[in-house]
């Protein structure tokens, strides 16, 4: 049997990759993709725990989380579209209107 830690390790790896992407990328689209990656690494954890504890709660939550990710992505992309219409690009560096 594959130990639980392996799933968790995989999820951590996925999360770190997503994190690295979030930190380094300027483009909003890539940012959202990386966030999706992080969310899904969490889902992986949920499902793994669910299986290894013989309860279904975790899987239910994973479903909820997927639905929320959809909502988040929809809103995110919509915001980016709006920004794009204003600035003609979605470079996050330049969005400093509220800074300081």
């Amino acid at each position: 049997m594959i130990p639980l830690s392996f799933y968790l390790g995989l999820a951590a790896l996925l999360f770190s990759i997503g994190l690295y992407g979030v930190m380094t990328h300027k483009s909003g689209i890539r940012l959202i993709m990386c966030i999706e990656l992080m969310l899904n690494s969490a889902n992986l954890n949920l499902v793994a725990f669910s299986s290894y504890t013989d309860t279904l709660n975790g899987q239910v939550f994973a479903l909820f989380s997927i639905a929320l990710a959809a909502a988040e992505a929809a809103i995110g992309f919509a915001i980016f579209m709006a920004i794009y219409r204003m600035h003609d690009r979605i470079n996050l560096d330049e969005l400093n209107l509220l800074r300081w």
């Binding site: 994190l19 979030v22 930190m23 380094t24 940012l31 996050l92 560096d93 400093n96 509220l98 800074r99 300081w100």
Partner: protein, 669 residues
């Protein structure tokens, strides 16, 4: 006697007159002058009746006390000392008020004038009849306030406003010393009495005098000297008297006080203000005589002031300033007289007060005459006057009488003489007695030299003003009767009061401290203070008796030669090139020393340092906290880049490190 029940009315009536005149004076005829005149007349009648009663029975003094606040009281005490003062003050003040009806007739603000003089008189009367030291101080300060208001009566003249301020501030220095004396006294009494008892007013004179031996036993260490508390207290009291009575070195306000109306000067100099200091020392005389060295200080200051003021008196050109220095000088005599109590005991009070009363008459007369001249002629610079005697015969005659009284003309050994003769010569003789007794001749020399100066400056004034030819064109006329009648009455008193009352007066005042209110044995108190008293008065050599008169005549002769006959050309002597003359004319550079050096230099220097350094530093500490906070946040807020990725990085890194840290700590523990 029923009248004594109303003793409290003596100051209350003029105070009421103040209120009425102040608020309704403008609607009353002649500025409401009738109200204070009536009130003071009533006070005079009450005072005089009480004095007559006391003369018959000096043991039964008037004494009433009511609780004021906390453990302090207000009260009335009329003993012989207070009685003669009350009678004199009400009488002189009454005459001055009547005179002022004429003198102030053209002034638009005369209702304010009469209101303030009424308050002035009320304060002085309350000062005289207070039976405790605190009430005396309260009245003392009110007198100061009124003098401030009256000297600055023509407040639109900058010099008047400035003189008023100077008078108030200079006397205030003395007042603070007086207050300090009261504070020390109260603290000591509290200690000695072991706290307060209901119904016992510790600050009443009978209580204070009762504690004199214990107070004297208390020792304090001041700058390495062991000093009796009583000495400290009395010297502080004397400091107050120095301020109020214009003694050196706090005399500077008195000549400037001439900026007020002349009647105010007369009030201040004769009746209501400067005598307060002398009165204070006389009132607390048992304390002074029981305090080692205090009376000597009084004597030296008094004697020195008498001489010092006299030297300045001989060079002044302003009619009123000469009189002002004359007052300072005569007050010096009174202080000297009190200080001689170190040798002659209680008699000193009689001698000094006798001079005070006589001085009041002739000094009021001198000022009112001067006022009469100024009123008629319109100038008070003696260089521009001359020959006024022809146009104003009554004024000139009364002024001459006053001058004779001031110089002290009379025939020794008889009861013929002006009042100044009897009182001033008594002081000089006492000084001689003192010298004979202690072999300390300094007071005597001071007093005799001052007598010469007195005679010179007053006759210089007479000759320069009333004789010779007019040195400028002025239109003069004799003053109206409302002004000359008071002059006549005062002249009468200046002539005969001394001769008629001398012995009786002295004996009357001897009773001051042994009566139904307080009983003090001056002899034993003098022993406490280390003062040896002599009782052998009256067998001075004939020369000593005649010397004051000879000196006065010499002064008259000098003045006659210099200012009437013009025997010597004074141009060279009385010029600014003569350093002595310049020193005197500049009044020993007091203005430079007091105002420019001390007030502006030292005090303002300290203040500037405090304002520009200390306060700035104190404030900067506060402001700096704010500035540093703002500056720090200006930098620190840049951490908030507004870029989510940065936040995410920092959060993740922080959490990771935190976990490692916690883990490590757990491992170590």
């Amino acid at each position: 006697m029923a009248l004594e029940e109303f003793a409290f009315l003596i100051p209350v009536l003029p105070a009421l007159a103040f209120v009425i005149t102040f608020f309704f004076g403008k609607k009353l005829p002649s500025g409401g002058a009738i109200v204070p005149i009536a009130a003071i007349a009533a006070s005079f009648v009450i005072s005089f009746m009480i004095t007559l009663g006391l003369l018959a029975n000096p043991e039964e003094v008037v004494s009433q006390s009511v609780s004021w606040f906390a453990v302090l009281n207000l009260g009335v005490l009329i003993d012989p000392l207070a009685a003669v003062m009350l009678s004199m003050v009400t009488f002189v003040s009454l005459l001055i008020h009547i005179y002022a009806v004429g003198y102030m007739s053209h002034d638009p603000a005369k209702s304010r004038y009469f209101a303030e003089t009424a308050l002035f008189t009320a304060a002085m009367l309350s000062l005289i009849l207070s039976d405790n030291i605190l009430q005396l101080f309260v009245s003392w300060e009110l007198v100061g306030l009124c003098s401030y208001l009256l000297i600055g009566f023509w407040f639109e003249k900058p010099s008047a406003a400035s003189a008023a301020k100077k008078a108030f501030l200079t006397t205030r220095i003395g007042d603070v010393m007086f207050l300090t004396g009261i504070i020390v006294l109260t603290a000591d009494l509290l200690k000695l009495a072991g706290g307060f008892t209901e119904g016992v007013y510790l600050l009443r004179f009978d209580e204070i005098f009762g504690y004199i031996p214990q107070l004297s036993a208390l020792q304090a260490n001041v700058f390495g000297f062991e000093v009796s508390h009583l000495t400290i207290i009395t010297l502080l009291f004397f400091g107050g008297a120095v301020g109020k009575s214009g003694q050196f070195p706090l005399h500077v306000w008195l000549p400037d006080a001439m900026e007020g109306p002349t009647t105010v000067s007369a009030l201040i100099h004769a009746a209501t203000m400067v005598t307060a200091g002398v009165y204070l020392v006389a009132r607390t005389f048992p304390m002074f005589i029981a305090a080692p060295d205090s009376l000597m200080v009084v004597a030296y200051f008094g004697g020195f002031t008498a001489l010092f003021a006299g030297t300045m008196g001989i060079v002044m050109n302003d009619l009123k300033r000469v009189l002002a220095f004359s007052t300072i000088s005569q007050l010096g005599y009174m202080m000297l007289g009190l200080g001689l109590g170190a040798a002659i005991g209680l008699e000193a009070v009689g001698v000094s007060l006798f001079h005070l009363i006589n001085h009041a008459f002739f000094k009021a007369l001198l000022f009112l005459c001067a006022g009469s001249v100024i009123h008629a002629v319109g100038t008070q610079d003696m260089r521009e006057l001359g020959g006024v005697g022809k146009v104003m015969p009554i004024t000139a005659a009364t002024m001459a009488v006053a001058a004779l009284a001031l110089a002290g003309f009379g025939i020794p050994g008889t009861s013929i003489g002006t009042s100044g003769f009897f009182s001033k010569d008594a002081i000089i003789e006492s000084a001689f007695l003192f010298g004979e007794h202690t072999h300390n001749w300094v007071p005597y020399l001071f007093s005799i030299a001052a007598a010469l100066l007195t005679s010179i400056y007053i006759f210089r004034l007479i000759f320069m003003t009333f004789t010779g030819k007019p040195r400028s064109s002025y239109g003069g006329h004799e003053s109206p009767a409302v002004m000359t009648i008071p002059l006549g009455i005062l002249a009468l008193f200046a002539l005969v009061f001394g001769g008629l009352t001398q012995t009786g007066f002295m004996n009357f005042l001897e009773e001051t401290f042994t009566n139904s209110f307080v009983s003090v044995d001056i002899g034993s108190l003098a022993e406490i203070g280390g003062n040896e008293l002599v009782h052998a008065a009256g067998h001075e050599p004939l020369f000593i008796l005649w010397l004051p008169l000879i000196v006065a005549l010499a002064g008259l002769g000098i003045a006659f030669a210099l200012y009437y006959l013009r025997a010597v050309d004074l141009g060279a002597l009385a010029s600014m090139k003569n350093p002595v003359y310049k020193l005197l004319y500049k009044r020993y550079y007091q203005h430079e020393i007091y105002t420019e050096f001390f007030s502006i230099g030292v005090v303002y220097g300290v203040v500037a340092f405090l304002a520009q350094v200390v306060d700035v530093v104190v404030d900067s500490i506060v402001e700096a906290v704010g500035i540093v906070t703002v500056a720090a946040s200006e930098e620190l807020r840049k951490i908030q880049t507004g870029v989510v990725q940065t936040y995410a990085t920092v959060v993740i890194a922080g959490v990771s490190l935190l976990i490692i840290l916690v883990k490590l700590i757990m491992e170590v523990l």
